[in-house]
Symmetry: C2
Subunit: 431 residues, 2 copies
């Protein structure tokens, strides 16, 4: 019998996250604070203390606390690795093999739960009572609402208004976990009111971050939780790649190409960094491919420079590939890919030539066609964001196979599409 | 470290389904055909041959073909068994332990995939090209669309109109798998046109079955696939209980009470029958509880007699607890529980006193409150149907715990609620 699925036992769950900071080709540039320290102090004050410590730690492996491992296991980790035999067959591949990691099996439907649980766990330990955050597509907001509830914390979510308005089901989902959800720009923060004055009715991730930071800074026992970009977020997400490495070990295989979608970089970093370690240590060669949208092609059209993480400039500046923190980006269904900059770690690796990037047109036709083919063959419905990785994987696989190259591609299915059927209808079936 | 989840390895997937027919306290009453054979011949002609054979087989264990086991494994089987530690804590239970089986992890969101894959597999082997079916809540229609696609078959779905109209996302989901979906009553069948004439605009499961049977009988290489009630459907579903038994084995435990929701009986039968075997063989004592809706309390208010399975009387009569095949049932969110009769196997066991039943009010308030508590504590969002099992489990657990009884309850989470957030909003958050 052929088994196209590799599992790890619950007690095989990794005991450590991988911190890439000490292995980077040059030290990660420090944040720059034009106010001489105020913004960094501000950020430290609203952060979860342990996350702040992890942000610049030089430990290569950071221990995952046992209680948190229990939460991961409860949430279904380790997650399976699949060989996409049916997709390969549909593509008539002869040489190239495709594998995919199943982050879509998470309780709220995406990989975001990996860092949400960690942040909520550390917040609870530190005596924090409320977590505040921003969300774009809604995946991060839901994940944090879930993690907060499971750790007996309150959650407050500022949600980009253009998405908030039509994703009513996801709003219900967050509320089901007890979260307070505000459309951003809102009238309850200075940053929100300023945004409304500027006529930014639709909102943006950068503006929602500003609102959340401001809100958190004014409440007691309240911290801000970020869902992407920062080092500690990528650290928590390495659980994905660490599991996948162990799973490839069991197969006695190793991927030649790793593909993930990239907005801010948390799912891309999650699957890539544990493999990147082998590349930086010159043990392996891998081609890393970031699948982006032309709505926010930060790694492609952006420049590597210091920029703010949010619209209202509450954060310090970070060295990133950025399109500019006030850039307006056209709306797309894969709203999770719509961020002006890529994580500092990813940006530095891109700068040193370790990461390739592709961007797909904003009409997303080819994206949803890839999603449809994946659903028809593998049976699992992927999130629009994950479908960028599927599209890129299909394109790369076909090209390599034509050349007769025997390569192994690993892609990350960052989330499921059960809550994105409206987008599927609009893109595939609307006349 | 405490692990609240019991897994089986992919190769530990059961190799046989359990057929309860030879173990029943009396032989299952044969179908009755008022036409002297025409209806039975009709049903045989539109059936998948191997499923027809399995319907009355006396083998106690029916081999699951290897290729089908591969499909099950691809679809994520075996599925985990969870201990509901967090729910127990919220209920302040001291003596009673609650376990739940995770059928919600299926590709289309419910246990229906277990029989859909089997039926599609056998249909393909028999040279059938198109599968036709009915659906109520939409779970079965989606499962069959998925299974048909994975086995290179066409799917045609007649969907109860009252549900078809508002579950637009689920319609997109079926179409994504390539299915043709018609609202029932439709104008393309005699039964549909008759129904429309009678003014049955909203439709019913019984009428949709009539339409599908008629449609299938008039097309070449086309068979009808049923999602519940029949013996072979329950046979395929025993994979749920067989896995659960193996998982309790690993824990060196055994359930005292088994709870599942019941419409036609496929998920109830699936989790219960493998345990029922031990009860019928006098090895164990278990209390089996069917959680029903007052909209269709067939086991409670129904009578045990011969009745048709569909409105237009295409099927032979089966001996079942029935409310009458033309009974109109009020709409509820858990539409999957809205069927006039219970499966013949379940009905016979009920008749002999092996099964308890509870029915909950059609306002479904207490159901969605239970669903909310489950989501808040365990983190997974259950289907409205599954939430009946959760409600009943909570009620029973509290009562037993108060009496100080050390009991183990097993419940089946038959599906997830990602596509039912509209129902959650209406029931919990609408003003």
């Amino acid at each position: 019998m052929f088994i196209d699925r590799v599992e790890l036992e619950p007690d095989e769950l990794p005991k450590y996250w991988y911190n890439i900071l000490p292995d980077l080709p040059e030290p990660l540039p420090k944040p720059m604070d034009p106010t001489g320290g105020d913004k960094i102090r501000f950020l430290e004050e609203v952060s979860i203390p342990e996350c702040w410590r992890q942000e610049y730690t030089d430990e290569r492996f950071v221990k995952i606390p046992d209680e948190l491992r229990e939460l991961y296991i409860h949430a279904g980790r380790p997650r399976p690795l699949y060989r996409a035999v049916r997709l390969e067959k549909a593509l008539k591949l002869k040489k190239v093999k495709i594998f995919y990691k199943r982050e879509d099996l998470s309780p709220t439907g995406s990989h975001k739960v990996n860092t949400a649980l960690a942040q909520a766990y550390y917040a609870k330990k530190a005596g924090i009572e409320t977590l505040v955050t921003e969300t774009g597509a809604g995946q991060w907001g839901t994940a944090l609402s879930y993690a907060a509830k499971l750790n007996d914390l309150n959650a407050v979510v500022f949600w980009v208004r253009s998405v908030y308005t039509w994703k009513r089901d996801r709003r219900t989902f967050m509320r089901l976990y007890g979260a307070k959800v505000y459309a951003s720009p809102s009238k309850i923060t200075e940053a929100g009111r300023e945004g409304l004055k500027r006529g930014e009715k639709e909102g943006s991730l950068g503006l929602a971050i500003s609102e959340g930071l401001e809100y958190a800074s004014k409440k007691r026992n309240t911290a801000y939780a970020l869902g992407s970009v920062l080092n500690h977020v990528l650290l928590h997400q390495t659980i994905i790649g660490l599991e996948a490495k162990e799973q490839f070990n069991k197969l006695d295989m190793y991927p030649d190409i790793i593909v993930a979608c990239l907005g801010g970089g948390s799912n891309f970093g999650g699957i890539s960094l544990p493999f990147m370690m082998d590349v930086l240590n010159k043990k392996k060669k891998i081609r890393f491919v970031a699948a982006q949208s032309e709505a926010a092609p930060n790694l492609i059209k952006g420049t590597y420079r210091y920029d703010y993480g949010d619209v209202a400039e509450y954060t310090p500046k970070l060295k990133m590939y950025t399109l500019g923190h006030k850039t307006r980006m056209p709306p797309i269904m894969a709203d999770g890919l719509r961020y002006h900059a890529a994580a500092p770690i990813i940006s530095l690796l891109r700068h040193h030539g370790y990461i390739d990037a592709l961007a797909y047109p904003t009409d997303e036709k080819s994206i949803f066609q890839a999603a449809k083919l994946f659903t028809e063959t593998e049976g699992w419905i992927p999130a629009p964001e994950s479908s960028y990785a599927i599209r890129a994987t299909i394109d790369i696989a076909k090209e390599l196979d034509k050349k007769g190259e025997e390569k192994i591609i690993l892609m990350n299915i960052s989330g499921h599409g059960f809550l994105d059927l409206y987008a599927y209808r609009k893109k595939l079936f609307a006349k």
